[in-house]
Amino acid sequence: MLDSPALLRARALTKKFGDTDALRGVDLVVAKGELLAIMGPSGSGKSTLLHCLAGILTPDSGEVWLEDIKLNDLTENERTKLRRSHYGFVFQFGQLVPELTAIENVALSLLLEGMKRDAAFAAAEPWFAKLGIPGLEKRRAGELSGGQGQRVALARALVMQPKVLFADEPTGALDTLAGEKVMELLTQAAKEQGTTVALVTHDARIAAYADREVIVRDGVIANVARQSHVAA
């Protein structure tokens, strides 16, 4: 997969929260179309890395690039626009608007981008069959099960045809079977659309859906290349 051109690049990223070093010089390249799992123990910096890659957090030093766009050079407004037009997000809890119906949640991003209501709903509707939840379009988001809600959240992210989907523990609140179903759908839909995925998970079974994983430990990416000092 790394033979594909780079889509996302991070160089020498650092980030502190108070006195705590969350990132201590992270270099990372994510190839176009790749599904990358970012793993690591709690507090290792994996979510901070994801948020820096996504332009949600600004690193203290280092650079983040999306193709030829350097995120560090963008204003907050420009970064927000870039996130809305190029990125999709799925979090542990779907963060749907509970008062809206499922299809309104999916269409919402399109409406915010200025798409007409009929066109936005027409674009949102096929995702319900694609993600195995036909018939739930008019159900209020607050009435959906965890697995159904995550599929709606996935539809909301993918309907924008993002270049990159950022997923932070997207199955963390689901049981094994519901989580695996969400991952199967996420993987399939992302591959079909050519969407690159950066996925944070502590769950090895979920990471196993990825093309590759990196392990973040103490704010750096663990290097698995073994360097022995014992003479052979």
Binding site: P41, A204, R205, E213, V224, R226, H229, V230
Partner: protein
């Protein structure tokens, strides 16, 4: 031993030829590790000797001679007994990993390097199994799930060990 009871299970539905038993076994249990014909007939010979199966008359229908194998009441009873026993648990299967971690500490190698390598190898295997389970039928999915859950348990051990490696290093070096 597993092949013996798997054959008994397959014969439970009715008599079958050795060739068909192998085909059915490979389909259901052994896609990743099919039985060799030699093993099939050696297993059936043992089952005949032990009275778990009987054979009918040799049949020849335009090809080589074939015999049908049928489960005996004794075979059926042993099958039921086997189904009523739990499988031996694999306590101690981490021994190999632990020996490597402890030895790395003893020779001043980095145990974390080994744990990272092992984690990467486990995750690679889990990726292969996940691909298999996504492409297969339910039987294949459940076989892959069994292996995946065991690998996941190993990974949890690897993570816990990595988190406690400094303590372990102190303990081993103070011995």
């Amino acid at each position: 031993m597993t092949a013996t009871f798997a054959f008994m299970g397959l014969l439970h539905a009715g008599p079958s030829y050795g060739y068909d038993l192998k085909k059915d076994y490979d389909e259901l249990f052994g896609r990743e590790k099919p039985l060799a014909f030699g093993q099939v007939y050696a297993t059936l010979a043992r089952m005949l000797r032990d009275g778990q199966v009987v054979t009918g008359e040799a049949e020849q229908q335009g090809g080589p001679e074939r015999k049908r194998y049928a489960l005996t009441p004794r075979g059926r009873s042993e099958l039921v007994e086997w189904l009523g026993q739990p499988e031996a648990t694999q306590a101690g299967s981490q021994a190999g990993l632990f020996v490597k971690v402890a030895t790395a500490i003893l020779v001043d190698e980095s145990p974390n390097d080994f744990l990272d390598l092992q984690r990467a190898a486990h995750l690679q295997k889990m990726r292969e199994l996940t691909k298999l389970r996504r492409e297969g039928d339910l039987a294949q999915t459940l076989r892959a799930d069994y292996a995946l859950f065991h690998l996941e348990a190993d990974l949890r051990w690897i993570d816990v060990t990595a988190a406690r490696i400094q303590e372990l290093t102190k303990e081993i070096r103070s011995c």
